[in-house]
């Protein structure tokens, strides 16, 4: 079971995230569980693999909104970075960023 302390230690801005959840701790933890199942993680990898930067941008953009709202800073940071690169449709090697996002997601999943 994920605790606020563990979440804080993981790097999330729990104070910020909790406020958006009207200080409802269970609600916050439940939404984090939901967010980690979000299909955007998989879709982002697929779009990049297919070279579809338009699709990748929209997905990264959506994901940014979700993880940002839950203040999951370790995931939010690389997603933000990716979103900005994709907004300019930058042809780059996105593997390191995708790996970072994936690793941070796995890490949080292991705390659940």
């Amino acid at each position: 079971m994920l605790t606020l302390e563990a979440l804080k230690e993981y790097g999330a801005d729990t104070e910020d995230g909790l406020k958006r959840c009207m200080d409802n701790r269970d609600f916050y933890i439940r939404l984090i569980g939901k967010a980690l199942e979000n299909k955007c993680f998989k879709e982002l990898e697929d779009y990049i693999a297919a070279g579809d930067l338009d699709g990748a941008f929209e997905t990264a953009h959506s994901l940014k909104g979700v993880v940002g709202n839950l203040a999951l800073t370790p995931i939010y940071k690389p997603v933000c970075e990716m979103t900005e690169l994709l907004r300019a449709r930058t042809e780059a090697d996105y593997t390191p960023l995708l790996n970072e996002i994936s690793a941070k997601r796995e890490e949080l999943l292991s705390l659940m």
């Binding site: 939901k34 953009h61 959506s62 940002g68």
Partner: protein, 566 residues
């Protein structure tokens, strides 16, 4: 004046959150649900549908810009294009600075960035946008009808829908009150008096429906809508009488009717609920003995059928789906009945519905103003047929065509008739004109003058349905007529009730006095034929001799006449 703002102020306002991300929707709902009822949509199309459905009760839309099926910006432009939606304020949800400005340019009230700011900030922005929009509506929209002080239709629907939201279990009736033939009152007494009558009706309706769960509005001229808690049929009958009483105070006779869609289905759009009440009301438009009409599903079928016929009319005319049938009239004054003339009757041979009875479409077209087109079509086809018989068979008889009341309002009528006879190459005494008695009686001298003009131009005028329109004897002597055509009902009742033919005798006496022949239609049996002959009736039409037949079959009668057989 009754106010509903207080009774409706207590409930929560509706807000729609349109965002494809579950987490974002949940967060906003959690923040706002204490103060608002939150509806949620997960794509653009779903959001649009929900906005349309809830347009009367929706106070705000929180809109994500990137959504499947329809983007937020597309939705925003759709909302601002539709007059009944554009008053609903929209706050855009975005993590994108460029989009903020673009959204505001496209009509958004405000934006909320992602990640979301503090809940207090969100709440403040939401409530400020709602307040702004509501104030703007109060300034721009008219809540009250200028003449009567009742709600306007827009506010009526809005308040009605809000009431449903706060009292979802209340059993409600949708009512549509109409004044029978209000235009006649306006014409007789002038619009000033007409307006006074409407004001009195409005006052009376407000008195009767004074409780806070009732809403009254004037929809158009003499149509009033009421949304109220359920009452039974008899109570409505009393209410209609109560309202019509004001006619006495105003020294005029006022007949009102109400269509009731009882315990209405609230899943149905509020406009449609009142559409149903209106259908029920229209059903008894010409019925002077009934004043309350309840809606039932069968009426919808009838209405849809009627709509279909009206819709298909232009195409049917173009494709010549209307055929002219002919029913012979025989002169029975001599030893042997002799073919003297015929009546042209229209039949609609519909490609998929088969033959449609004139009883199904003529009253419909009379109400819809299409009858004048159909009539002219029949006159033309008839004139062409007469010319064709003359040319091919060397013989014809005069054929009578029907003139509707709408035709008599047409100032070009005489010219049209002349043009038709001229263009088809027949003479004016080949075409007889049947004018129903009620047309003479119901209206001004204008109609009588028009018939006179036709007669002066050489057309033969038969007064149709004589005995159904209550012409005064005094008046008949002055009317321009060449024949009296006995209402078919006369023949039926005369022979049903122990051969009581006294009324027929009286009509024949009147005709004798006017020196015009009497034509009896609807004659079906030999007994009727012999009795009418004995009474002195001149001409007979009916199934006893022949039903209405297509033009080629009618040629048989012409050929017989030519050979001296009939």
């Amino acid at each position: 004046m009754k106010e509903h703002s207080d009774v409706l102020a207590g409930g929560k306002r509706n807000i729609l959150v349109a965002d494809d991300e579950f987490i974002n929707r949940e967060l906003l709902e959690n923040i706002l649900s204490d103060e608002y009822d939150v509806l949620k949509a997960e794509d653009g199309e779903m959001a649009y549908e929900m906005i349309r459905q809830n347009r009367n009760t929706l106070s705000l839309i929180l809109l994500d810009l990137i959504m499947p099926k329809m983007t937020g910006l597309e939705l925003l432009s759709r909302i601002s294009d539709e007059p009944d939606l554009k008053g609903i304020p929209v706050i855009v949800l975005t993590s994108d600075h460029d989009s903020e400005v673009e959204s505001l340019r496209n009509g958004a009230y405000d934006f909320i960035p992602k990640p979301y700011p503090q809940p207090d900030v969100i709440k403040a922005r939401v409530s400020r946008s709602i307040e702004l929009a509501e104030n703007r509506q109060i300034i721009s929209a008219t809540e009250r009808d200028e003449l009567t002080g009742l709600y306007t239709i827009e506010y009526f629907y809005r308040y009605g829908s809000q009431f449903d939201k706060y009292y979802p279990n209340a059993e409600m009736d949708a009512l549509c009150f109409d004044v029978n033939h209000f235009h006649v009152l306006n014409e007789r007494f002038g619009t000033e008096k007409g307006d006074e009558i409407l004001k009195h009706i409005a006052e009376r309706l407000e008195t009767v429906f004074a409780d806070k769960a009732s809403f009254v509005c004037r929809k158009t001229a003499d149509t009033f809508l009421v949304y109220c808690s359920h009452r039974d049929h008899d109570e409505y009958a009393k209410i209609v009488d109560q309202i019509a009483e004001i006619g006495e105070d105003l020294h005029t006779s006022l007949k009102m009717r109400v269509g009731v869609y009882s315990c209405c289905d609230k899943k149905l759009d509020i406009h449609l609920r009142f559409g149903r009440a209106k259908i029920a009301s229209d059903k008894i438009r010409n019925n002077y003995t009934v004043s309350v009409s309840d809606f039932d599903e069968a009426l919808i079928d009838a209405e849809l059928f009627a709509e279909q016929l009206v819709e298909e009319f232009p195409k049917a005319l173009e494709e010549k789906q209307f055929l002219v049938y002919f029913q012979p009239k025989f002169d029975i004054r001599g030893d042997k009945p002799v073919l003297s003339s015929a009546e042209a009757l229209v039949r609609w041979i519909h490609p998929s519905l088969g033959m449609i009875s004139p009883g199904a479409f003529i009253p419909l077209f009379e109400g819809d103003g299409l009858i004048a087109k159909l009539d002219e079509y029949v006159w033309r086809r008839t004139a062409e047929k007469i010319a064709d018989w003359k040319a091919r068979l060397g013989i014809s008889v005069p054929v009578s065509v029907n003139l509707s009341r709408a035709d008599l309002y047409d100032p070009e009528l005489v010219d049209t008739m002349e043009k038709i006879t001229r263009e088809s190459g027949i003479s004016r005494d080949d075409l007889y004109l049947e004018v129903t008695e009620s047309a003479y009686v119901s209206d001004s001298s204008q109609m009588v003058d028009r018939v006179k003009a036709l007669r002066e131009h050489g057309f033969f005028i038969e007064m149709d349905d004589f005995g159904s329109g209550y012409s005064s004897l005094n008046m008949i002597s002055e009317l321009p007529i060449d024949a009296l055509k006995l209402d078919m009902k006369f023949i039926r009742t005369a022979f049903e009730k122990k051969n009581d033919t006294r009324m027929i005798s009286i009509v024949i006496d009147i005709a004798d006095y006017l020196k015009v022949p009497v034509i009896a239609e609807g004659v079906e049996t030999e007994e009727q034929y012999l009795e009418l002959k004995r009474l002195g009736c001149a001409i007979i039409q009916g199934y006893y001799f022949s039903k209405p037949v297509p033009a080629d079959e009618f040629e048989r009668f012409l050929n017989d006449k030519k050979e001296g057989k009939g």
